[in-house]
């Protein structure tokens, strides 16, 4: 029953949505483990050949699958309570946090920002909402009005206050790098930007797929019943 899932068959008809909640979750877990193992094997073979691991397609697949599972789990948990009214702002934040957690998990703990995300997601987000808008606006305004003409030598000296301020802002933007020295922040920012780009790519593809499914699913909902039948 579960052996057909690993092959790239787009539409499994009989296996996934069977029985009640318990069986479904168990099957989903085994499917997830097998898929992750296979995706990781693929990622290892492809990631080593490419220079930057965030641009590989396999990494994107890992991220998308873990994001989908997290979303499905959260939906199953909160589907009964706030189904229709949770969309837009409130639901978006949950999706964003799930996406960030999936992104951090895809980093496999090799970067500081991923560890910081996984360690204290709730704490950071509460602080971020208060501090980030005011600080970001002030820093952006100051940077735009001053226009300093510095080169890399000034950066080496780490003396210029404008540069220092920008480094601090950057350190606050990248999670987990608020107290790190300059080269650490630069390195983490490099990795973080690549990861964010991958996240944007994967999520936009997911949104495209979902919008396509949603538009066709509304029309052809007669094929599959809404409630999963007990015997299939």
């Amino acid at each position: 029953m579960s052996s057909s899932l690993i092959s790239p068959n787009p539409i499994p008809t009989s296996s996934p949505a069977t029985a009640g909640g318990g069986d479904r979750s168990r099957e989903a877990k085994t499917r997830r483990r097998k898929k992750k193992a296979q995706a990781q094997a693929q990622a290892q073979s492809k990631g080593r050949s490419q220079s930057s691991k965030w641009k590989s397609h396999a990494q994107q697949q890992i991220f998308s699958s873990s994001l989908l599972q997290a979303l499905a789990q959260s939906r199953r948990g909160a589907g009964g309570g706030g189904g229709g009214g949770g969309g837009g702002g409130g639901g978006g934040r949950a999706v964003r946090e799930a996406a960030d957690r999936a992104l951090a998990a895809s980093a496999k703990g090799r970067s500081r920002w991923s560890r910081a995300i996984l360690a204290g997601r709730i704490r950071i987000s509460k602080f971020r909402k208060r501090k980030r808008p005011a600080a970001a606006v002030a820093a952006a305004a100051a940077g735009r009005s001053r226009k300093p003409r510095v080169s890399v030598s000034r950066l080496r000296g780490k003396g210029m206050p404008a540069v220092q301020r920008k480094v601090r802002v950057l350190g606050r933007l990248v999670p987990g790098c608020r107290k790190e020295p300059l080269p650490v922040i630069l390195e983490e920012a490099t990795d973080y930007i690549e990861a964010l780009e991958m996240q944007v790519r994967a999520m936009s593809e997911l949104a495209r797929l979902l919008s396509g499914v949603a538009s066709t699913g509304a029309g052809t909902s007669s094929d599959s019943p809404a409630a999963p039948p007990p015997s299939q």
């Binding site: 199953r76 702002g89 639901g91 964003r96 950066l155 973080y192 599959s224």
Partner: protein, 90 residues
Amino acid sequence: MSSRRSRQSGSSRISDDQIIDLVSKLRELLPEIRDRRRSDKVPASKVLQETCNYIKNLHKEVDDLSSRLSQLLSTIDPDSPEAAIIRSLI
């Protein structure tokens, strides 16, 4: 140059070349600076500023995408066949 390097390496153990290397790597990632032709004359503060702006833009994009995704997910009524299809597609 060598005296400056030795002084700094005594205090911070970070080489200037390392910082230059990191800044140039960061510069390659930013689309704003990559498209400009004078790639040698971009000051480091500009790189930092563009990095901050770019990360903020990416954050905003992720937020927009996530709210859109949550809307899409909430409008799909039967989550069993569609979610299974999507999971197997990806």
